[in-house]
Amino acid sequence: MSEHPYDELPGLLFGELNRAEVTLVSDHLDGCDDCRRELAVLAAASASLRATAHQAQAAPAAVAGVVAGDPVPGVAAAQEAPSPAGPAAGERPAGPAMLAWPPARPGRRRGPLVGLAAATALALVAAAVLLWTGPLRSGRPSSTVALAGVGAVAASGQASMAGDGGDRRMTVTSAGLPALRPGQYYEVWLLDPDRGTVFPVGVLPRDGEGRFTLPASVVGRYQAIDVSLEADDGDPAHSKRSLLRGRYA
């Protein structure tokens, strides 16, 4: 451990240090104002990320779109329509779930700053116990994948991947998706059909078109793109109601 255990501070916030490491870092923090200030900055940034990641799942699609780097979706009234009979995809819901952090929301009516302050306080008080996508970069088009309706879903679409370096820019377009009921939204996933795992890419705006940027390493670990119908029910797992799917590897 270096003179200042800076690199151990995130692990302290995440609860990923062992007992000896916690003791070492805590002892250092007792006498180091500099590290305490660093920890305060990290805790606030961490709380913002956790709260926003949670909002991306639990809050309106507009917020999730912003988190995912999408253009702000247009305003559209909620559409009343029969629920699509999306067949179960037969895939696992146990992929990398969003962090189940309390929805820290800085609403003025509930008292200013409660959200972030509470999350920060939790992160710090419980530090010994507890504890995506970048700018769209231009890149050469590399591949386009056709997305076909799953089961009886009469929809179609395509996904294009582009980019070099560490990022992959994915653009999803679709047509004929079942109309959304209030409280429903479309979500894009990466899927490994063999292992039955998924990675949440982000919310697809109701117009069926979205742009996402993913770490190339993540894209490389999956083989297919899946678009599902989700309900804003607080469950971050895949609903098993797949609408579109296409394999890219």
């Binding site: 305060a40 909002q55 917020v63 912003v66 702000v72 979706p73 800085p106 560490g166």
Partner: protein, 106 residues
């Protein structure tokens, strides 16, 4: 330590927000407590902007941790880099995010 963190959080959130949100979108969000949703939208944009200012390596580890639910050990395994590298990227990424979002040190 708690007092410092709380003060930083309060200072950060009391800062005037300079992010603009289309009025149509805010109106769309205006439900029983639409102001909260509007605040969340602004907050999400600040976070988005913070992530955009990171290096690709820093952004990758933070996204895997916060949006992918991965531990630092899992991230190191997935990326094929030493755990110490992940820890360093995460620390620098979080610190830079904090600074970009206007969270000041003491």
């Amino acid at each position: 330590m708690f007092a410092i963190a709380r003060r930083r959080a309060i200072d950060h959130l009391r800062r005037p927000h300079h992010v603009t949100v289309p009025i149509e979108l805010v109106r769309d969000l205006a439900d029983a407590d639409g102001r909260e949703d509007a605040d969340n939208l602004v907050w999400a944009r600040e976070v988005r902007r913070g992530l955009d200012r990171l290096s690709a390596e820093q952004r990758e580890v933070l996204e895997l941790a916060y949006f992918g639910g991965r531990t630092q050990v899992e991230i190191a395994g997935q990326l094929g880099v030493p755990l110490g590298t992940v820890k360093a990227r995460m620390f620098r990424g979080l610190r830079r995010m904090g600074h970009v979002m206007g969270i000041k040190r003491g």
